[in-house]
Amino acid sequence: MRHPLSRTLRRVPLNTAALAVLAVSVFPVYWMAITAFKPTADIQADTPSFLPLHPTLDHFRTAVHAAGFGTFWRNSLMVTLGAVLMSLLVALLAAFAVGRMRWRGRRAFILMVFIAQMAPWEALLIPMYVIARDTDMLDSLSMLTLVYFMTTLPFTIVTLRGFLAAIPVELEESAQVDGCSRAGAFRRITLPLLAPGLLSTSLFGFITAWNEFAFANTLIIKNQDARTLPVWLSSFANVFGTDWGATMAASSLFMLPVLLVFLVLQNKVTSGMTAGAVKG
């Protein structure tokens, strides 16, 4: 006889493993957040406290008042949003061509996108640096925006193509029968249905660009005012010495926007990624 209790008991090892995975995934982030709220005396205690016993906002003040914080925040936001919007627009056109039209070279184009998705970007640091220098784009945020646009573009095309494939073409066709132009049918019928796909794809672009470090660190050399948050954060330890509270506060502030968007959209993101992965 199956007994509810024995079923619970059989699940003990499974749930223990689940809790272990949960702890390992959450603890480092928890430790960051809690350190950010601890007064320095508690951070430098011989016995660490696992709860914020004397919460303080001092470290956040230090981080926010650090030189250039607002500028770097704005730089990161501009570069990221610029790159995401560009790649979304360009990818939408390409995904439409691939998903809704038949043409010579379509297969070659898709393969090119796949290969571009695997491009070893970090291997291009040196030529990018030289090209940026030659074209007077060194130290400029537009160069970074362009690079991020290109690094996110192939993925965006592949994923949007997956989402587009899930929307029946008949819906567009019947709108065309009802008198819509082809573009009009796409805009009125398919685009709204594609909204979750656009949202989750742009989130990936957002995270990639928001996080990017190697190019930001290479292409922005002299003009310190054009730095982005990841570069600033990586040098934070140098700026603040061993002020771990301020470093962790800065890390928390850096990760906050990504985290918020991610948590709000997590279901769409996972399903979207699977759609992209399985189909593409």
């Binding site: 691939v98 040196i126 640096y129 470090f213 850096f254 990760m255 985290l259």
Partner: protein
């Protein structure tokens, strides 16, 4: 309902031949349309991917140092850069380390990712939601934030890891300086990359698992297959393309991983964590030997392509069937 188009549009033998001009021109416009739509993508790829790649290869055959960067006029020197790189024992040490680093990371990520995906599949609803949220949290942690967090976790004096190990009875870890030793720095970098990459693998594979038809498991259970056999004979074959995809992506990501290593150790201590991308960057940026750095980058791309060629071929064949 959908099958019968209006009779008027159906071409019949009696219909007059369509006027020649307009449809022809419309045909040209319509035929050009897809190419116009992909033009921005092609332009972006040409200028921001192919051109830098070509430039990289070109530079690897030139004498391109600080002087050439400033004044231009680089001279071609044939394979001299490649000769210098390939005859340097340091390069081969770095290659071996990079392969070892990639294999270790990818192996751990796939193993843990698969186990967690299988676990998620078996968990109750709430527990699954909790674990998935935790994984998403890890996944959403920006690389640089995660890197500073790990530096803090393993900090010698006040790091919580040393404290825990000390509490557990490993007293030699009191004030242990993780980042002063090559081996331990390497280990922390592996832990960091695995910690960050497992969520993608686990969530993708779990997404795939939910698409495996339940009848297959039912049949396997009736045939008396155990857990391992079910995985080997049912789950894995069905999800083989997904496993191949995740493996390729993880191999690429780990192989070219740069930011974490650069921020934590800059390839040190004693070059113990210098992988190929870091090596290329060190040579180019710190030593201003852009030509040698380009040669290393080109070799990196070649090695990576070589490692992935089987996977790529399989993927292309599969794509070809789908199209």
């Amino acid at each position: 309902m959908l099958t019968a188009p209006p009779a008027a549009t159906r071409p019949t033998a009696k219909a007059p031949p369509p006027p020649a001009r307009r449809p022809a021109r419309r045909g040209v416009v319509a035929a050009a349309r897809p190419y116009l739509l992909i033009a921005p993508t092609l332009a972006g790829t040409a200028f921001l991917l192919l051109y830098p790649l070509a430039r990289n290869i070109l530079m690897s055959f030139q004498h391109y140092r600080m002087a050439e960067l400033i004044h231009g006029g680089a001279k071609f020197i044939g394979f001299a850069n490649y000769g210098a790189i390939l005859s340097d024992p340091e390069f081969w040490t770095v290659v071996r380390r990079t392969l070892w680093w990639t294999a270790l990371d990818t192996g751990l990520i796939l193993l843990l990712g698969t186990l967690i995906a299988l676990m998620l599949d078996k968990l109750g609803r709430w527990m699954r939601l909790a674990v998935m949220s935790g994984l998403v949290l890890t996944w959403a942690t920006p690389v640089i934030a995660a890197t500073t967090i790990f530096q803090w976790l393993f900090q010698s004096r006040f790091g919580v890891v040393n404290w825990s190990l000390d509490q557990l009875g490993f007293h030699s870890f009191r004030n242990y300086a993780w980042f002063a030793h090559g081996g331990s720095t390497f280990a922390i970098l592996v832990a960091l990359v695995v910690w960050q990459s497992v969520p993608f693998a686990a969530l993708t594979l779990y997404g795939g698992l939910t698409t495996v038809p339940a009848e297959l498991y039912e049949a396997a259970r009736l045939d008396g297959a155990g857990a391992w056999q079910t995985f080997r004979l049912v789950t894995f074959p069905v999800l083989r393309p997904l496993f191949a995809l995740v493996t390729s992506l993880e191999v690429i990501w780990c192989f070219k991983c740069f930011a974490q290593i650069w921020v934590i150790s800059q390839g040190g201590p004693d070059n113990a964590t210098t992988t190929l991308p870091v090596y290329a960057f060190q040579i180019a940026q710190a030593l201003h030997k852009y030509d040698l750095g380009s040669a290393v980058s080109t070799l990196t791309v070649l090695i990576l392509t070589g490692a992935l060629v089987f996977n790529l071929r399989r993927m292309f064949r599969q794509e070809g069937e789908e199209l």
